[in-house]
């Protein structure tokens, strides 16, 4: 079976302005969303307490709210979680006092509301959240630097910059969707974002690798058509891998249960955006950065020459002539 059978190249770069405009609109809307509405940070980042309760019958949310209003926990949010029986109580406060057990306290408070089981209690102190954020940002910056260095060494700095642009593009738009759909951002979402970072990088590098290879193997001088050719050649692989990943993530999203829902949603958006960017946008960045095939070819030729010289020298050395 084959999906893309065409033998001529698709003219992706011909539409690059249109795609660039779509990307810019998406990115700007994401920024606007992030700065106006912001992200819905969960307790992992803000600190606070979460109590998950499962009732034997439909959860009496109104009663629960009423009972909570009478106590220290007034103003807590009570929402349904996955099913009608299950609810989550989000309490802004957390306690640093070890001898207090919020789980036990809530159990006492809810006594009159029916038969239930406390399934999960998460308490996160406010300090941890700050540290997590700092560490997260640090990790992100370091990752970008490492990618820049590695790709610069293996390819050229313009490839590195273009791949970083593509990453920023993907992460920003995914964050925009998280904000739009009000997904609660916890540690697992951070993991998902980092996965997308890896995934999108993977995709972009496969395309760039093809471009690098074509530069070395063909005599094509126009970057425009070279990119078209490379993207077309990798199209089958990009689509296939994206589709399989998409299916796995989709099943995770549909059947993985409420807890993993936000995680799967983030991956779902990320896979789509990442695939889109590596096909339609990454090459454009390379074009905009005024990448020169000529220079790259010369440099590669130089490298190859040096390598051969070294080899010759070694051969001569081994044969005892030096």
């Amino acid at each position: 079976m084959e999906i893309f059978k065409r033998k001529t190249d698709y003219n992706f770069m011909g539409y690059r302005k249109k795609f660039l405009i779509i990307s810019i609109i998406l990115m700007i809307s994401s920024f606007v969303l992030l700065f106006s509405k912001g992200l819905n940070f969960g307790i992992d980042f803000t600190g606070g307490t979460i109590v998950q309760v499962k009732y034997e019958e439909k959860a009496p949310i109104e009663d629960i709210r009423k009972e909570l209003e009478k106590t220290d926990y007034q103003g807590s949010e009570v929402v349904e979680f996955g099913s009608k029986e299950e609810i989550v109580i989000k309490i802004k406060k957390s306690t640093t006092n070890i001898e207090r057990d919020i789980g036990d306290e809530v159990r006492e408070i809810l006594k009159s509301t029916g038969k239930y089981e406390i399934r999960r209690v998460d308490i996160v102190g406010a300090k941890v959240g700050g540290e997590l954020r700092e560490k997260g940002i640090m990790a992100l910056i370091l990752s970008l630097v490492v990618i820049l260095i590695y790709v610069s060494i293996r390819f050229e700095w313009r490839f590195a910059v273009a791949s970083i642009f593509a990453l920023i593009h993907d992460i920003t738009i995914t964050l925009g969707f998280l904000s739009l759909f009000n997904i609660e951002v916890n540690l697992d979402i951070l993991a998902a974002l980092l996965t997308i970072l890896g995934y999108s990088l993977n995709d972009t590098i496969i395309v760039f690798d093809r471009i690098r290879e074509s530069i070395q193997r063909t005599k094509e001088k126009v970057l425009y058509s070279l990119i078209n050719n490379s993207v077309s050649k990798t199209l089958s692989r990009t689509t296939l891998t994206s589709l399989t990943t998409f299916f796995v993530v989709l099943t995770l999203f549909l059947f993985g249960g409420e807890i993993i829902n936000g995680f799967a949603f983030t991956l779902l958006v990320g896979v789509i955006v990442g695939t889109y960017s590596s096909i339609f946008v990454a090459g454009t960045f390379l074009l905009q950065l005024k990448f020169s095939i000529e220079n790259f070819r010369n440099k590669e030729a130089e490298k190859e020459k040096k390598r051969k010289e070294k080899e010759n020298l070694r051969k001569m050395y081994e044969m005892g002539r030096v």
Binding site: M1, E2, K54, T95, T96, N97, I98, E99, G103, I118, R120, D122, I123, V124, G125, K127, V128, K135, M138, A139, L142, S143, I147, Y150, R154, L187, D188, L190, A191, A192, L194, T195, G198, Y199, L201, N202, I205, I206, D209, R210, K233, S236, R237, L240, T241, L243, T244, T245, F247, V248, V249, T251, L252, F255, G256, G257, I259, I260, F263, L267
Partner: protein, 490 residues
């Protein structure tokens, strides 16, 4: 059919994988298994933070106590000894005593001493502070572990500070206890503490004795049958206590437990024998808790709870079920799709992908790694990457076949073309995973470990393993349609 080294490696890897993954897959009694994380199995996880600065503060205070005791014992005449902001100031009035004090300070050690004539300015060296902080954390771990072993988690004592101090009431200042601020009190070398009944006391900041000198504590009852805690002091503690009570008859002595004044009786006579008692309206349970905390050694500093996560067993079981259903069904979809799309090449890819999963499980079991929900997602990602590696290789071979290359050539060249792309893509992801491991916490670390293992394994199975299979079967591969799923032009 020829056996080559590549297929031998794949075969050994699969044997190794099966051997070490069986305990985890079948949940056997013996053998190393993957630990299920909190979110999958249920249980409780707590992150505590020791307030190490408190330990540093206590350290300088106990230095001050020792100095004060020594100065009084040796009858050295001073212009007073004071403790402010972690510094002890002593003015020695008689020059001939300066040497004695210096000798004493040297004996204590770890101090930074400045002296201008008879005026001593003492603080802890940075190194001592650092040591004290480290000791505070270690001590906390040790004490908590001890108490957990002895009393179990149900006891509230486990985290109780259990810090007992004897402090002198500042009789000159005490009548202003309600009008003075803590800061003003500190100017006089005193501190304000609340009593259990809600009264305020002004106490001399430098304690007479601290909890280190307690050797035993138990619950007893006073004349009116109220529970009290009686404690026994070490011989040094008993001596200090005796000397102090002898010199301070008519004044009050406060017994402070975890920063709360429990009682402040007037000293009627010298209390020798090195024992004493704390009364303060305890319930029997309370008295028991405090006694245990005192006896098992005080925590070097108070401990805060930073994070606590508890998951009921039923929730864990639910999330395992849901994730496994999702993963298995997603996986089956991919396997079927690969066969439909690529034909026998898909089957070979599937062998690599399954070997990949078995190996990840085996290596994680060997490490005793903990599997959490994000970790499971990490497995999904790496399986995705393993599929990707196979797709890249097969696509390359197809491409060459379409260009009209012969089968053997197409496979060989296809691999060498694909390897560079796979390596570059995987190495960058691996680098990111390493950074995640270094900077991440808990679940993120687990995620990074899973990805790293997965990437390394997938390079082994996809690049070496499948190539071995092709090389072995090379002579039999003829029909492009059946083997690679494309129409053969020739």
């Amino acid at each position: 059919m020829k056996i080559n080294y590549k297929i031998t490696i794949l075969f050994l890897a699969i044997v190794f994988g099966l051997w070490y993954s069986i305990p985890s897959l079948l949940q056997t009694e013996n053998g190393k298994k993957i630990n299920l994380g909190l979110d999958l199995r249920g249980g409780m996880h707590m992150l505590l933070r020791t307030n190490v600065e408190e330990a540093v503060e206590n350290k300088i205070k106990s230095v001050a106590s020792a100095l004060k005791y020594y100065i009084e014992k040796e009858e050295i005449i001073t212009g007073g000894i004071s403790l402010t902001n972690g510094r002890i100031d002593i003015e020695v009035l008689d020059k001939s005593d300066i040497l004695k004090v210096e000798k004493m300070l040297n004996e204590i050690g770890g101090l930074e001493i400045k002296r201008v004539k008879g005026l001593f300015d003492i603080k802890l060296t940075e190194e001592t502070k650092k040591e004290t902080r480290e000791w505070a954390v270690k001590g906390a771990v040790e004490t908590i572990r001890n108490r957990l072993d002895q009393f179990g988690l149900a006891e509230p004592t486990v985290m109780k500070r259990g810090d007992l101090k004897m402090m002198a009431v500042d009789e000159n200042l005490n009548n202003q206890a309600y009008s003075i601020s803590e800061r003003e009190a500190q100017n006089y070398g005193s501190t304000i503490k609340d009593s259990k009944e809600g009264r305020k006391y002004i106490l001399k900041d430098i304690p007479i004795l601290d909890g280190k000198e307690i050797v035993d504590a138990r619950v007893a009852f006073d004349e009116s049958n109220q529970p009290i805690i009686s404690f026994t002091l070490s011989s040094l503690g008993g001596k200090i206590f005796g000397d102090f009570t002898e010199n301070n008859i008519g004044k009050r002595l406060a017994i402070v437990l975890d920063d709360i004044v429990y009682s402040a009786p007037v000293i009627r006579s010298r209390i020798g024998g090195g024992s004493g008692q704390i009364s303060g309206g305890f319930t029997i349970e309370e008295a028991g808790t405090v006694a245990i905390a005192l006896k098992s050694g005080a925590l070097p500093a108070s401990v805060d709870m930073v994070e606590k996560r508890s998951v009921g067993p039923s929730l864990g079981a639910d999330s395992i079920k849901a994730s496994i259903i999702a993963l298995v069904s997603g996986f089956v979809l991919v396997i079927i799709f690969m066969i439909i799309y690529y034909g026998i090449a898909g089957v070979i890819s599937n062998i690599a992908i399954i070997a990949n999963i078995i190996l990840i499980i085996a290596i994680m079991s060997l490490f005793g790694a903990t599997l959490t929900l994000p970790g499971m997602a990490g497995i999904v990602l790496t399986v995705g990457m393993a599929v990707d590696a196979n797709v890249i290789i097969t696509e390359r071979i197809r491409e060459l076949l379409k260009e009209g290359k012969r089968m053997g050539e197409a496979i060989k060249e296809g691999y060498s073309n694909a390897i560079r792309a796979i390596l570059d893509a995987n190495i960058t992801t691996l680098l990111v995973a390493i950074i995640l491991y270094a900077y991440g916490t808990g679940p993120i670390k687990g995620f990074a470990v899973t990805i790293s293992i997965g990437i390394l394994v997938s390079m082994l199975t996809a690049i070496i393993g499948t190539q071995g299979i092709y090389e072995m079967l090379l002579k039999k591969i003829k029909n492009q349609k059946i083997w690679f799923g494309i129409k053969g032009d020739k």
